[in-house]
Amino acid sequence: MTRYGFVLWTAARQQWTYRAELAMRTIQMALFMGVFMALWTTAFGVSGQAELSGYTVVEMVWYLAMTETITLSSSRVFIEISEAVKAGDLAYTLTRPLSYPFYQVANSLGNSAPRFLLNLLMAAAVVGLGMRQVAGSLPGLLAFLGTAALALLLDALVAVLIGLLAFWIEEVMPIFWIYQKLLFTVGGLFLPLEMFPDWLRRVAEWMPFQFITYVPARTFVAFEPEFVLRAVGGQIIYVAVLTGLVIFVWRRAQLRLVVHGG
Protein backbone atom coordinates (compact mmCIF):
# COMPACT_ATOMS: atom_id res chain seq x y z
CA MET A 1 0.00 0.00 0.00
CA THR A 2 2.93 2.32 0.87
CA ARG A 3 4.26 1.85 -2.66
CA TYR A 4 0.97 2.93 -4.19
CA GLY A 5 0.87 5.88 -1.81
CA PHE A 6 4.32 6.86 -3.02
CA VAL A 7 3.18 6.61 -6.68
CA LEU A 8 0.18 8.82 -5.86
CA TRP A 9 2.33 11.38 -4.06
CA THR A 10 4.90 11.48 -6.88
CA ALA A 11 2.21 11.94 -9.56
CA ALA A 12 0.61 14.75 -7.53
CA ARG A 13 3.97 16.52 -7.09
CA GLN A 14 4.69 16.12 -10.78
CA GLN A 15 1.35 17.76 -11.66
CA TRP A 16 1.90 20.52 -9.12
CA THR A 17 5.18 21.45 -10.84
CA TYR A 18 3.07 22.62 -13.78
CA ARG A 19 0.55 24.49 -11.61
CA ALA A 20 0.61 27.59 -13.83
CA GLU A 21 -0.55 25.52 -16.79
CA LEU A 22 -3.08 23.75 -14.59
CA ALA A 23 -4.43 27.12 -13.48
CA MET A 24 -4.79 28.10 -17.16
CA ARG A 25 -6.90 25.01 -17.69
CA THR A 26 -9.34 26.13 -15.01
CA ILE A 27 -10.48 28.82 -17.49
CA GLN A 28 -12.64 26.02 -18.86
CA MET A 29 -14.31 25.75 -15.47
CA ALA A 30 -14.98 29.51 -15.42
CA LEU A 31 -16.50 29.24 -18.90
CA PHE A 32 -18.81 26.34 -17.99
CA MET A 33 -19.95 28.00 -14.79
CA GLY A 34 -20.65 31.25 -16.65
CA VAL A 35 -22.87 29.33 -19.10
CA PHE A 36 -24.69 27.46 -16.31
CA MET A 37 -25.31 30.60 -14.26
CA ALA A 38 -26.86 32.32 -17.30
CA LEU A 39 -28.89 29.25 -18.26
CA TRP A 40 -30.32 28.51 -14.83
CA THR A 41 -30.99 32.14 -13.95
CA THR A 42 -33.02 32.35 -17.17
CA ALA A 43 -34.73 28.98 -16.53
CA PHE A 44 -35.76 29.88 -13.00
CA GLY A 45 -36.88 33.34 -14.21
CA VAL A 46 -39.02 31.78 -16.96
CA SER A 47 -40.55 29.17 -14.63
CA GLY A 48 -41.54 31.84 -12.09
CA GLN A 49 -40.80 29.31 -9.33
CA ALA A 50 -38.37 29.71 -6.44
CA GLU A 51 -37.55 25.99 -6.52
CA LEU A 52 -37.30 23.37 -9.25
CA SER A 53 -37.37 19.77 -7.95
CA GLY A 54 -36.32 21.03 -4.52
CA TYR A 55 -33.36 23.12 -5.72
CA THR A 56 -33.18 26.92 -5.63
CA VAL A 57 -31.21 28.63 -8.39
CA VAL A 58 -28.27 29.17 -6.01
CA GLU A 59 -28.26 25.50 -4.97
CA MET A 60 -28.54 24.38 -8.58
CA VAL A 61 -25.51 26.42 -9.65
CA TRP A 62 -23.43 25.26 -6.66
CA TYR A 63 -24.49 21.69 -7.39
CA LEU A 64 -23.13 22.09 -10.93
CA ALA A 65 -19.93 23.72 -9.60
CA MET A 66 -19.27 20.57 -7.57
CA THR A 67 -20.11 18.07 -10.34
CA GLU A 68 -17.89 20.00 -12.77
CA THR A 69 -15.06 20.14 -10.21
CA ILE A 70 -15.02 16.34 -10.10
CA THR A 71 -15.49 15.82 -13.85
CA LEU A 72 -12.80 18.30 -14.89
CA SER A 73 -10.39 16.63 -12.44
CA SER A 74 -11.21 13.13 -13.61
CA SER A 75 -8.78 10.57 -14.93
CA ARG A 76 -7.29 10.45 -18.43
CA VAL A 77 -5.07 7.52 -17.53
CA PHE A 78 -6.77 5.28 -20.10
CA ILE A 79 -4.85 7.17 -22.81
CA GLU A 80 -1.50 6.25 -21.23
CA ILE A 81 -2.58 2.63 -20.73
CA SER A 82 -3.97 2.13 -24.24
CA GLU A 83 -0.86 3.70 -25.80
CA ALA A 84 1.38 1.45 -23.71
CA VAL A 85 -0.64 -1.58 -24.82
CA LYS A 86 -0.47 -0.60 -28.49
CA ALA A 87 3.24 0.34 -28.41
CA GLY A 88 4.22 -2.73 -26.42
CA ASP A 89 5.72 -0.57 -23.63
CA LEU A 90 3.71 -2.52 -21.11
CA ALA A 91 6.44 -5.14 -21.03
CA TYR A 92 8.77 -2.83 -19.07
CA THR A 93 6.17 -2.19 -16.38
CA LEU A 94 5.66 -5.89 -15.67
CA THR A 95 9.05 -6.14 -13.96
CA ARG A 96 8.10 -3.54 -11.35
CA PRO A 97 7.17 -4.77 -7.86
CA LEU A 98 3.65 -3.34 -8.30
CA SER A 99 0.45 -4.48 -9.94
CA TYR A 100 0.28 -2.46 -13.17
CA PRO A 101 -3.45 -1.59 -13.08
CA PHE A 102 -3.32 -0.48 -9.43
CA TYR A 103 -0.12 1.46 -10.12
CA GLN A 104 -2.20 3.32 -12.75
CA VAL A 105 -5.07 3.85 -10.28
CA ALA A 106 -2.61 5.51 -7.85
CA ASN A 107 -1.04 7.47 -10.71
CA SER A 108 -4.50 8.66 -11.78
CA LEU A 109 -5.47 9.78 -8.26
CA GLY A 110 -2.17 11.65 -7.95
CA ASN A 111 -2.84 13.42 -11.25
CA SER A 112 -6.38 14.31 -10.22
CA ALA A 113 -5.64 15.72 -6.76
CA PRO A 114 -3.97 19.06 -7.74
CA ARG A 115 -6.49 19.58 -10.56
CA PHE A 116 -9.33 18.94 -8.13
CA LEU A 117 -7.99 21.57 -5.73
CA LEU A 118 -7.55 24.24 -8.42
CA ASN A 119 -10.91 23.48 -10.05
CA LEU A 120 -12.68 23.68 -6.71
CA LEU A 121 -11.10 27.07 -5.97
CA MET A 122 -11.97 28.42 -9.43
CA ALA A 123 -15.55 27.10 -9.30
CA ALA A 124 -16.10 28.57 -5.82
CA ALA A 125 -14.66 31.93 -6.89
CA VAL A 126 -16.71 32.21 -10.11
CA VAL A 127 -19.99 30.99 -8.61
CA GLY A 128 -19.49 32.95 -5.38
CA LEU A 129 -18.92 36.17 -7.33
CA GLY A 130 -21.60 35.45 -9.93
CA MET A 131 -24.42 34.40 -7.59
CA ARG A 132 -23.29 36.46 -4.57
CA GLN A 133 -24.61 33.66 -2.37
CA VAL A 134 -23.09 30.47 -1.02
CA ALA A 135 -24.96 27.19 -0.79
CA GLY A 136 -23.96 24.30 1.43
CA SER A 137 -22.47 24.17 4.91
CA LEU A 138 -19.21 23.22 6.61
CA PRO A 139 -20.35 19.61 7.31
CA GLY A 140 -21.54 19.52 3.69
CA LEU A 141 -18.11 20.64 2.48
CA LEU A 142 -16.31 18.03 4.59
CA ALA A 143 -18.69 15.28 3.42
CA PHE A 144 -18.21 16.49 -0.15
CA LEU A 145 -14.42 16.15 0.15
CA GLY A 146 -14.79 12.57 1.44
CA THR A 147 -17.35 11.46 -1.15
CA ALA A 148 -15.42 13.25 -3.92
CA ALA A 149 -12.26 11.29 -2.99
CA LEU A 150 -14.19 8.01 -3.32
CA ALA A 151 -15.75 9.33 -6.55
CA LEU A 152 -12.29 9.97 -8.03
CA LEU A 153 -11.23 6.46 -6.97
CA LEU A 154 -14.27 5.00 -8.77
CA ASP A 155 -13.48 7.13 -11.81
CA ALA A 156 -9.83 5.98 -11.80
CA LEU A 157 -10.93 2.32 -11.68
CA VAL A 158 -13.28 2.88 -14.63
CA ALA A 159 -10.47 4.69 -16.54
CA VAL A 160 -8.10 1.74 -15.97
CA LEU A 161 -10.78 -0.67 -17.22
CA ILE A 162 -11.26 1.46 -20.35
CA GLY A 163 -7.50 1.56 -20.90
CA LEU A 164 -7.19 -2.23 -20.56
CA LEU A 165 -9.83 -2.68 -23.27
CA ALA A 166 -7.04 -1.75 -25.69
CA PHE A 167 -6.03 -5.41 -25.48
CA TRP A 168 -9.20 -6.28 -27.39
CA ILE A 169 -10.11 -3.15 -29.41
CA GLU A 170 -7.84 -0.81 -31.34
CA GLU A 171 -9.39 2.49 -30.27
CA VAL A 172 -10.69 3.02 -26.71
CA MET A 173 -11.65 6.68 -27.09
CA PRO A 174 -15.27 5.94 -28.16
CA ILE A 175 -15.69 3.84 -25.00
CA PHE A 176 -14.49 6.83 -22.96
CA TRP A 177 -16.96 9.12 -24.76
CA ILE A 178 -19.80 6.79 -23.85
CA TYR A 179 -18.66 6.60 -20.21
CA GLN A 180 -18.32 10.40 -20.10
CA LYS A 181 -21.84 10.86 -21.49
CA LEU A 182 -23.25 8.36 -19.00
CA LEU A 183 -21.82 10.67 -16.32
CA PHE A 184 -23.45 13.63 -18.11
CA THR A 185 -26.82 11.91 -18.09
CA VAL A 186 -27.53 9.20 -15.51
CA GLY A 187 -24.56 10.40 -13.45
CA GLY A 188 -26.35 13.70 -12.83
CA LEU A 189 -23.51 15.91 -14.08
CA PHE A 190 -25.77 18.50 -15.71
CA LEU A 191 -28.98 17.83 -13.80
CA PRO A 192 -29.62 16.47 -10.31
CA LEU A 193 -31.40 13.11 -10.33
CA GLU A 194 -34.45 14.72 -8.68
CA MET A 195 -35.19 16.42 -12.02
CA PHE A 196 -35.40 13.15 -13.95
CA PRO A 197 -38.66 11.41 -14.76
CA ASP A 198 -39.37 8.82 -12.01
CA TRP A 199 -38.61 5.75 -14.14
CA LEU A 200 -35.22 7.14 -15.19
CA ARG A 201 -34.35 8.19 -11.69
CA ARG A 202 -34.97 4.66 -10.45
CA VAL A 203 -32.66 3.30 -13.17
CA ALA A 204 -29.95 5.91 -12.43
CA GLU A 205 -30.00 5.15 -8.70
CA TRP A 206 -28.83 1.59 -9.31
CA MET A 207 -25.95 2.57 -11.58
CA PRO A 208 -22.41 3.45 -10.44
CA PHE A 209 -22.30 6.75 -12.32
CA GLN A 210 -24.39 8.73 -9.81
CA PHE A 211 -21.78 7.91 -7.14
CA ILE A 212 -19.16 9.81 -9.16
CA THR A 213 -21.00 13.09 -9.77
CA TYR A 214 -24.49 13.36 -8.23
CA VAL A 215 -23.70 11.98 -4.77
CA PRO A 216 -20.80 14.31 -3.80
CA ALA A 217 -22.55 17.41 -5.21
CA ARG A 218 -25.87 16.62 -3.52
CA THR A 219 -23.95 15.98 -0.29
CA PHE A 220 -22.54 19.49 -0.52
CA VAL A 221 -25.72 21.46 -1.28
CA ALA A 222 -28.10 19.48 0.97
CA PHE A 223 -26.16 17.79 3.76
CA GLU A 224 -28.12 14.96 5.41
CA PRO A 225 -26.11 12.46 7.53
CA GLU A 226 -28.39 9.57 6.55
CA PHE A 227 -27.96 10.27 2.83
CA VAL A 228 -24.17 10.55 3.24
CA LEU A 229 -23.92 7.21 5.05
CA ARG A 230 -26.03 5.45 2.41
CA ALA A 231 -24.05 7.11 -0.38
CA VAL A 232 -20.66 6.19 1.08
CA GLY A 233 -21.90 2.60 1.52
CA GLY A 234 -22.87 2.53 -2.17
CA GLN A 235 -19.52 4.00 -3.20
CA ILE A 236 -17.59 1.39 -1.21
CA ILE A 237 -19.64 -1.45 -2.73
CA TYR A 238 -18.92 -0.16 -6.24
CA VAL A 239 -15.20 0.32 -5.41
CA ALA A 240 -15.11 -3.37 -4.41
CA VAL A 241 -17.01 -4.47 -7.54
CA LEU A 242 -14.80 -2.43 -9.89
CA THR A 243 -11.62 -3.57 -8.14
CA GLY A 244 -12.69 -7.18 -8.69
CA LEU A 245 -13.43 -6.39 -12.32
CA VAL A 246 -10.01 -4.73 -12.82
CA ILE A 247 -8.28 -7.83 -11.37
CA PHE A 248 -10.35 -10.12 -13.62
CA VAL A 249 -9.78 -8.06 -16.81
CA TRP A 250 -6.03 -7.69 -16.07
CA ARG A 251 -5.69 -11.50 -15.69
CA ARG A 252 -7.44 -12.03 -19.02
CA ALA A 253 -5.36 -9.28 -20.61
CA GLN A 254 -2.09 -10.85 -19.48
CA LEU A 255 -3.04 -14.01 -21.37
CA ARG A 256 -3.13 -11.92 -24.55
CA LEU A 257 0.20 -10.27 -23.83
CA VAL A 258 3.06 -11.42 -26.00
CA VAL A 259 6.48 -10.05 -25.03
CA HIS A 260 9.25 -10.44 -27.58
CA GLY A 261 12.82 -10.34 -26.43
CA GLY A 262 15.38 -7.78 -27.48
Binding site: M24, V35, A38, A43, V46, W177, I178, K181, P197
Partner: protein, 262 residues
Protein backbone atom coordinates in the same frame (compact mmCIF):
# COMPACT_ATOMS: atom_id res chain seq x y z
CA UNK B 1 -9.84 29.18 -54.94
CA UNK B 2 -8.21 27.78 -58.06
CA UNK B 3 -8.76 24.45 -59.75
CA UNK B 4 -5.40 23.28 -58.36
CA UNK B 5 -6.50 23.94 -54.78
CA UNK B 6 -9.84 22.17 -55.31
CA UNK B 7 -7.97 19.15 -56.69
CA UNK B 8 -5.66 19.22 -53.67
CA UNK B 9 -8.63 19.26 -51.26
CA UNK B 10 -10.44 16.45 -53.09
CA UNK B 11 -7.24 14.42 -53.37
CA UNK B 12 -6.62 14.62 -49.62
CA UNK B 13 -10.27 13.81 -48.87
CA UNK B 14 -10.02 10.66 -50.97
CA UNK B 15 -6.61 9.70 -49.59
CA UNK B 16 -7.61 10.27 -45.95
CA UNK B 17 -10.85 8.35 -46.36
CA UNK B 18 -9.01 5.42 -47.93
CA UNK B 19 -6.51 5.42 -45.03
CA UNK B 20 -9.43 5.36 -42.60
CA UNK B 21 -11.04 2.44 -44.40
CA UNK B 22 -7.84 0.43 -43.97
CA UNK B 23 -8.85 0.18 -40.28
CA UNK B 24 -12.57 -0.15 -40.92
CA UNK B 25 -13.48 -1.44 -37.45
CA UNK B 26 -11.78 1.44 -35.61
CA UNK B 27 -13.30 3.93 -38.08
CA UNK B 28 -16.85 2.67 -37.58
CA UNK B 29 -16.41 2.49 -33.81
CA UNK B 30 -15.35 6.14 -33.77
CA UNK B 31 -18.25 7.21 -35.99
CA UNK B 32 -20.92 5.40 -33.99
CA UNK B 33 -19.27 6.31 -30.69
CA UNK B 34 -19.52 9.96 -31.65
CA UNK B 35 -23.17 9.66 -32.71
CA UNK B 36 -24.04 8.09 -29.36
CA UNK B 37 -21.92 10.66 -27.56
CA UNK B 38 -23.75 13.58 -29.19
CA UNK B 39 -27.18 12.01 -28.73
CA UNK B 40 -26.60 11.83 -24.98
CA UNK B 41 -25.83 15.57 -24.94
CA UNK B 42 -29.42 16.24 -25.98
CA UNK B 43 -30.64 14.39 -22.88
CA UNK B 44 -30.11 17.54 -20.77
CA UNK B 45 -32.42 19.59 -22.97
CA UNK B 46 -35.03 16.83 -23.12
CA UNK B 47 -35.28 16.78 -19.30
CA UNK B 48 -35.19 20.57 -19.05
CA UNK B 49 -37.98 21.11 -21.60
CA UNK B 50 -40.06 18.49 -19.80
CA UNK B 51 -40.06 20.95 -16.91
CA UNK B 52 -40.28 24.22 -18.85
CA UNK B 53 -42.28 24.93 -22.01
CA UNK B 54 -39.64 27.22 -23.52
CA UNK B 55 -36.62 29.40 -22.75
CA UNK B 56 -36.90 32.91 -24.23
CA UNK B 57 -38.62 31.54 -27.34
CA UNK B 58 -36.46 28.41 -27.68
CA UNK B 59 -38.02 24.96 -27.33
CA UNK B 60 -36.63 21.44 -27.79
CA UNK B 61 -37.07 21.60 -31.59
CA UNK B 62 -35.14 24.88 -31.74
CA UNK B 63 -32.30 23.53 -29.60
CA UNK B 64 -32.18 20.32 -31.67
CA UNK B 65 -31.81 22.49 -34.78
CA UNK B 66 -28.89 24.33 -33.13
CA UNK B 67 -27.28 20.95 -32.37
CA UNK B 68 -27.95 19.72 -35.91
CA UNK B 69 -26.28 22.72 -37.56
CA UNK B 70 -23.37 22.96 -35.13
CA UNK B 71 -22.64 19.22 -35.27
CA UNK B 72 -22.84 19.04 -39.07
CA UNK B 73 -20.71 22.19 -39.44
CA UNK B 74 -18.18 21.00 -36.85
CA UNK B 75 -18.09 17.57 -38.52
CA UNK B 76 -17.63 18.98 -42.03
CA UNK B 77 -14.89 21.31 -40.74
CA UNK B 78 -12.98 18.41 -39.20
CA UNK B 79 -13.54 15.97 -42.05
CA UNK B 80 -12.23 18.40 -44.68
CA UNK B 81 -9.88 20.51 -42.52
CA UNK B 82 -8.89 18.04 -39.81
CA UNK B 83 -5.80 20.06 -38.87
CA UNK B 84 -7.71 23.27 -38.11
CA UNK B 85 -7.60 22.67 -34.33
CA UNK B 86 -3.87 21.86 -34.49
CA UNK B 87 -2.55 25.02 -36.19
CA UNK B 88 -0.91 26.37 -33.01
CA UNK B 89 0.87 23.06 -32.36
CA UNK B 90 2.15 22.78 -35.95
CA UNK B 91 3.47 26.36 -35.89
CA UNK B 92 5.07 26.10 -32.44
CA UNK B 93 6.85 22.83 -33.31
CA UNK B 94 8.20 24.22 -36.55
CA UNK B 95 6.31 21.57 -38.55
CA UNK B 96 5.20 24.11 -41.18
CA UNK B 97 8.40 23.52 -43.16
CA UNK B 98 6.85 20.62 -45.04
CA UNK B 99 3.95 22.74 -46.31
CA UNK B 100 6.14 25.72 -47.22
CA UNK B 101 8.39 23.68 -49.44
CA UNK B 102 5.56 22.54 -51.74
CA UNK B 103 3.86 24.49 -54.55
CA UNK B 104 0.42 24.60 -52.88
CA UNK B 105 -1.21 27.21 -50.66
CA UNK B 106 0.43 26.39 -47.28
CA UNK B 107 -2.65 27.23 -45.19
CA UNK B 108 -5.04 25.13 -47.31
CA UNK B 109 -2.51 22.31 -47.51
CA UNK B 110 -1.94 22.34 -43.74
CA UNK B 111 -5.69 22.34 -43.00
CA UNK B 112 -6.71 19.53 -45.35
CA UNK B 113 -3.80 17.17 -44.76
CA UNK B 114 -5.56 15.45 -41.85
CA UNK B 115 -9.07 14.08 -41.43
CA UNK B 116 -10.78 13.56 -38.10
CA UNK B 117 -12.52 10.18 -38.33
CA UNK B 118 -14.98 10.78 -35.50
CA UNK B 119 -16.12 13.95 -37.31
CA UNK B 120 -18.04 11.70 -39.74
CA UNK B 121 -20.12 10.76 -36.71
CA UNK B 122 -20.76 14.45 -35.98
CA UNK B 123 -21.94 14.99 -39.56
CA UNK B 124 -24.29 12.00 -39.49
CA UNK B 125 -25.61 13.01 -36.08
CA UNK B 126 -26.18 16.60 -37.23
CA UNK B 127 -28.11 15.51 -40.29
CA UNK B 128 -30.16 12.99 -38.31
CA UNK B 129 -31.06 15.44 -35.56
CA UNK B 130 -32.10 18.07 -38.09
CA UNK B 131 -34.39 15.62 -39.90
CA UNK B 132 -35.91 14.34 -36.65
CA UNK B 133 -36.35 17.78 -35.03
CA UNK B 134 -39.53 18.64 -36.95
CA UNK B 135 -41.67 17.00 -39.64
CA UNK B 136 -41.28 18.10 -43.24
CA UNK B 137 -37.62 19.04 -42.85
CA UNK B 138 -36.60 17.53 -46.21
CA UNK B 139 -37.70 20.66 -48.07
CA UNK B 140 -35.28 22.75 -46.05
CA UNK B 141 -32.36 20.36 -46.43
CA UNK B 142 -30.46 22.51 -48.99
CA UNK B 143 -30.72 25.53 -46.66
CA UNK B 144 -29.58 23.36 -43.73
CA UNK B 145 -26.54 22.20 -45.69
CA UNK B 146 -25.65 25.76 -46.73
CA UNK B 147 -26.01 27.12 -43.18
CA UNK B 148 -24.05 24.21 -41.68
CA UNK B 149 -21.21 24.72 -44.13
CA UNK B 150 -21.12 28.42 -43.24
CA UNK B 151 -20.99 27.38 -39.56
CA UNK B 152 -18.11 25.04 -40.44
CA UNK B 153 -16.31 27.89 -42.21
CA UNK B 154 -16.63 30.08 -39.10
CA UNK B 155 -15.24 27.24 -36.93
CA UNK B 156 -12.24 26.68 -39.23
CA UNK B 157 -11.52 30.41 -39.63
CA UNK B 158 -11.77 31.04 -35.88
CA UNK B 159 -9.46 28.07 -35.20
CA UNK B 160 -6.89 29.41 -37.68
CA UNK B 161 -7.11 32.88 -36.11
CA UNK B 162 -6.48 31.65 -32.56
CA UNK B 163 -3.97 29.04 -33.76
CA UNK B 164 -2.00 31.76 -35.56
CA UNK B 165 -1.30 33.34 -32.18
CA UNK B 166 1.53 30.81 -32.01
CA UNK B 167 3.45 32.95 -34.55
CA UNK B 168 3.64 35.68 -31.91
CA UNK B 169 3.44 34.00 -28.50
CA UNK B 170 5.10 30.66 -29.22
CA UNK B 171 3.34 27.86 -27.37
CA UNK B 172 -0.30 28.92 -27.88
CA UNK B 173 -1.63 25.37 -28.07
CA UNK B 174 -3.42 25.49 -24.73
CA UNK B 175 -4.75 29.01 -25.29
CA UNK B 176 -6.05 28.15 -28.78
CA UNK B 177 -7.63 24.96 -27.41
CA UNK B 178 -9.46 26.91 -24.71
CA UNK B 179 -10.70 29.49 -27.24
CA UNK B 180 -11.98 26.80 -29.65
CA UNK B 181 -13.61 24.99 -26.75
CA UNK B 182 -15.34 28.23 -25.74
CA UNK B 183 -16.61 28.74 -29.31
CA UNK B 184 -18.10 25.22 -29.50
CA UNK B 185 -19.59 25.41 -25.98
CA UNK B 186 -21.33 28.72 -26.64
CA UNK B 187 -22.49 27.60 -30.10
CA UNK B 188 -24.60 24.86 -28.54
CA UNK B 189 -26.70 27.23 -26.41
CA UNK B 190 -29.32 29.69 -27.68
CA UNK B 191 -27.63 33.11 -27.59
CA UNK B 192 -30.80 34.65 -26.09
CA UNK B 193 -30.31 32.96 -22.71
CA UNK B 194 -27.16 34.97 -22.02
CA UNK B 195 -27.06 38.44 -20.45
CA UNK B 196 -26.32 41.49 -22.65
CA UNK B 197 -22.53 41.71 -22.42
CA UNK B 198 -21.99 37.98 -23.03
CA UNK B 199 -24.37 38.16 -25.99
CA UNK B 200 -22.23 40.93 -27.52
CA UNK B 201 -19.19 38.64 -27.13
CA UNK B 202 -21.06 35.85 -28.92
CA UNK B 203 -21.47 38.03 -32.00
CA UNK B 204 -17.89 39.33 -31.94
CA UNK B 205 -14.90 37.87 -30.06
CA UNK B 206 -16.26 34.33 -29.59
CA UNK B 207 -18.71 34.18 -32.49
CA UNK B 208 -20.72 31.19 -31.23
CA UNK B 209 -24.01 32.86 -32.23
CA UNK B 210 -22.98 32.70 -35.92
CA UNK B 211 -22.35 28.96 -35.59
CA UNK B 212 -25.50 27.87 -33.74
CA UNK B 213 -28.26 30.37 -32.94
CA UNK B 214 -28.28 32.58 -36.07
CA UNK B 215 -28.40 29.67 -38.58
CA UNK B 216 -31.07 27.92 -36.45
CA UNK B 217 -33.20 31.09 -36.44
CA UNK B 218 -32.80 31.30 -40.23
CA UNK B 219 -34.08 27.75 -40.62
CA UNK B 220 -37.21 28.36 -38.58
CA UNK B 221 -37.84 31.93 -39.74
CA UNK B 222 -35.97 32.74 -42.97
CA UNK B 223 -34.86 36.32 -43.55
CA UNK B 224 -32.66 37.51 -46.45
CA UNK B 225 -31.01 40.30 -44.43
CA UNK B 226 -30.03 37.87 -41.71
CA UNK B 227 -28.64 35.42 -44.28
CA UNK B 228 -26.64 38.24 -45.90
CA UNK B 229 -25.21 39.16 -42.47
CA UNK B 230 -24.25 35.53 -41.81
CA UNK B 231 -22.61 35.12 -45.24
CA UNK B 232 -20.75 38.44 -44.83
CA UNK B 233 -19.50 37.45 -41.37
CA UNK B 234 -18.42 33.95 -42.48
CA UNK B 235 -16.54 35.22 -45.54
CA UNK B 236 -15.10 38.12 -43.53
CA UNK B 237 -13.69 35.93 -40.76
CA UNK B 238 -12.30 33.47 -43.35
CA UNK B 239 -10.46 36.30 -45.15
CA UNK B 240 -9.24 37.70 -41.83
CA UNK B 241 -7.91 34.26 -40.82
CA UNK B 242 -6.07 33.91 -44.12
CA UNK B 243 -4.57 37.39 -43.80
CA UNK B 244 -3.47 36.85 -40.18
CA UNK B 245 -1.91 33.46 -41.03
CA UNK B 246 0.06 35.02 -43.92
CA UNK B 247 1.12 37.89 -41.69
CA UNK B 248 2.27 35.40 -39.09
CA UNK B 249 4.18 33.37 -41.69
CA UNK B 250 6.60 36.29 -42.06
CA UNK B 251 7.61 35.71 -38.43
CA UNK B 252 7.83 31.94 -38.76
CA UNK B 253 11.13 30.30 -37.94
CA UNK B 254 11.86 26.78 -39.11
CA UNK B 255 12.24 24.10 -36.50
CA UNK B 256 14.98 22.45 -38.62
CA UNK B 257 13.33 19.16 -37.80
CA UNK B 258 13.96 16.26 -40.09
CA UNK B 259 10.67 14.38 -40.39
CA UNK B 260 9.48 11.56 -42.56
CA UNK B 261 5.95 11.65 -43.96
CA UNK B 262 4.28 8.58 -45.32
Amino acid sequence: MGIKTIRLVLGYLRHNLMSAMAYRGAFLLQVFGMILNNTMLLFFWWVLFNRLPSLRGWDLTGVMTIYGITAFGFGAANVVCGNSFLVARVVARGDLDYYLALPADPLVHLLVSRMSLSAWGDMLFGLGVFLIAAPGQWARLPLFLLLSLLAGLVIVAFSVLVGSLAFWVGNADNLAGQAINALITFSLYPADIFPGLVRVLLYTLIPGAFVGSVPAELLSDFDWDKLATLVAFSVGIALAARAVFRWGLRRYESGNLVTVRG
